[in-house]
Symmetry: C2
Subunit: 397 residues, 2 copies
């Protein structure tokens, strides 16, 4: 398996384009007659595009996706639903595919109607420009950004057991409302693997659980999330090599979302080992990356590790003060904070000095060994900065 | 029932004192031979004082409590446990009561040993000064403050069915790590009601569920919380009038904690009506006051109500987009935001203009009518400001 360049258009048969106007962006991706699977949020308020896309993918096959940023088209009633359908209709007519073969996604403010004149203009232009090129991939990734500060794309190729080379490309956007169980995030994956919708569903679910579901930015869960994979079957049969590559792409995109969390100045990776169950490992890891107190400590370069212990304690995971170990590391330097319940980094120790240095870096890894079992999980997050407050206190103004 | 002045010493037989030195504060409250009940956090990491106090109250009776701020005495092993016992011992020897009749509480940084020379000095002095006076009550409330910006005390008296007048006084401290199911908060209540430990337990649990358990500041759950009530039995028998008064005191103290949330510039009260169950009402109300996105919107005076809908949607409460109604109000002015699923406050409307005005006030009430059932709950919170980040990014430095 290796990372390659080229964005989503590195995948054979994929066309894309994206462009922006005022607060809106539109991305169109075409991957004709692809098998499909997707993961949606569990929020009881679901945006119109989610409802449309759930129906579109129900027969396991789509040919294109149209997405807009700047407006979530959520809590917009029948008018919003009709607007979502119109977006799909424009794409289906232009690409001469069935209406129900177009998926729709939206991200942005909740509770406002789309400005359809701008949306229509953007979709029209995207459909004229859509092509298979490096530039097209980049534009598609850029047009779905909202408060993201950089566009997110990642592509790998790997050799399948049947000898074929398969490619998987993805674009994603973050970056607030990122909670356990996804957030206001969109991720579109394309691949040329041969796989049934059911096989894609199993593969995607497994990859999302290890990646996007392990990212926490602010703990708010969105109404509009979508991770969708289109597989056009031009390459070989799905196997474990594909699965490994898919997980790699999803984890890399998830890390980008964490790094680009609203106002983030630092990236945090938390490994939890030694848990009594996979659920314990996950909830402990997510409690740490999700803790406002850990996040502000990270922002302030203050290795206030007591907050890590407290987060594990309230996470719901089984734990014992006398078994827990905590280490911190960054750029090859590590510090033992707690070892089997014994505090190593107290005032005046070299460990605490190193921990302070580590917390002043841009990418920090915290490892917690619960010391009770064999299960592990990794979660991704970022710090909580003044800019998170700034961005979110002025969002609709 | 009426609010009275005098602090906790308004209750007959109660002596108190509090004082500070450097980062530490110590409060001593004496209420001889009182029946007792307390509520503790569910965090699996429990501070030494919690373990000591759990044992102290196990026979339903204590005579005094000693509390310190500035250090949580948590994750401090055997040394921390012995230090907690020493605090109790100093009080028991001086007041000539049994060691197991002294409750201990601590709040502050986790994972550091107490500076016992300072603690000892403060307890010594508190025990010399302890008295029944207005000033003593105030000093007791002040000494348990950490990042609190004002001290919190509240006293009421009410007439019991048996004709006796009963008093209930409480002091509390917030103000970060305030989550559903309490936070880094301490609350000590004294009363002269006659009640068995079991009766106190039932009464306190009910009052805490409606008050401290409905406050969210940052969603982190503490290792050191304690709400403890001492009843010395000098007045009449416990009844529903006492219950009502106790709930009033707890709710008023809980509101003060929310108003004084770290960095808070605004107070938010959320009423949820029309839920299908009490659990639904509670989790919806707590999801709204706990949402980082609602909190930052509040700070920025941006009535981005879509975030309220999204929070109800992910709260776990049963809901339907077509049944929900949202109103906002402050200082006697109200605005209909959504009425049975229909948006009233969209761009250009008077409702949105009023909503903006309301969000610029200091105390805001949001009412959500889920429109499906008859259950209600109220939660209390505050905005998320730059100062929350500032306070918590520099906490141990």
């Amino acid at each position: 398996m290796k990372k390659i360049d080229g964005g989503i258009c590195a995948v054979d048969g994929v066309l894309a384009w994206g462009l922006r106007k005022e607060k809106y962006g539109v991305t169109v991706i075409s991957s004709p007659e692809s098998n499909v699977s997707a993961v949606f949020p569990s929020n009881k308020v679901l945006a119109a595009p989610i409802i449309i896309t759930k129906k579109a993918i129900s027969n396991g096959r789509i040919s294109a996706i149209v997405a807009n940023s700047g407006n979530a088209n959520c809590f917009t009633g029948e008018e919003g639903f009709q607007n979502g359908l119109k977006m799909a209709q424009m794409v289906s007519e232009n690409l001469q595919i069935k209406l129900e073969d177009v998926a729709v996604a939206s991200t942005g403010v909740i509770g406002r109607q789309l400005s359809m004149s701008i949306i229509k203009q953007l979709i029209d232009e995207a459909l004229i420009m859509v092509e298979n090129s490096r530039d097209a991939s980049k534009k598609a990734a850029e047009a779905i950004m909202t408060t993201d500060t950089f566009s997110k794309e990642f592509v790998v190729q790997t050799k399948l057991n049947d000898g074929n080379i398969v490619k998987i490309g993805g674009i994603a956007k973050g970056s607030g409302m990122i909670a356990p169980n996804m957030g206001t995030m969109l991720c579109f994956l394309v691949t040329d693997v041969k796989a049934s919708p059911k096989q894609l569903e199993v593969a995607l679910k497994k990859a999302v659980d290890k990646s996007f579901n392990m990212v926490v930015v602010d703990g708010d869960e969105s109404t509009n999330d979508m991770v969708l994979i289109m597989a056009n079957g031009k390459s070989g049969e799905i196997d474990e090599n594909f699965q490994e590559a898919l997980e790699y792409v999803c984890i890399e995109l998830a890390k980008m979302i964490a790094k680009d969390g609203e106002g983030a100045t630092k990236f945090l990776e938390v490994d939890v080992n030694g848990a009594l169950s996979i659920e314990d490992a996950k909830c402990a890891a997510k409690a740490i990356v999700g803790s406002s107190l850990v996040k502000t400590a990270l922002f302030g370069a203050d290795p206030n590790w007591g907050r890590i212990v407290a987060a594990v304690g309230y996470s719901g995971a089984m734990m014992d003060e006398n078994s827990i170990s905590i280490t911190m590391e960054s750029e090859g330097t590590g510090a033992d904070i707690v070892k089997k319940g014994v505090v190593k980094a107290y005032a005046g120790t070299n460990e605490l000095k190193i921990a302070e240095e580590i917390f002043s870096k841009k990418e920090i890894k915290i490892t917690v060994d619960i010391g009770l079992g064999d299960y592990t999980a990794t979660a991704y997050g970022c710090d909580l900065s003044y800019d998170y407050v700034k961005i979110n206190s002025e969002y609709t103004t």
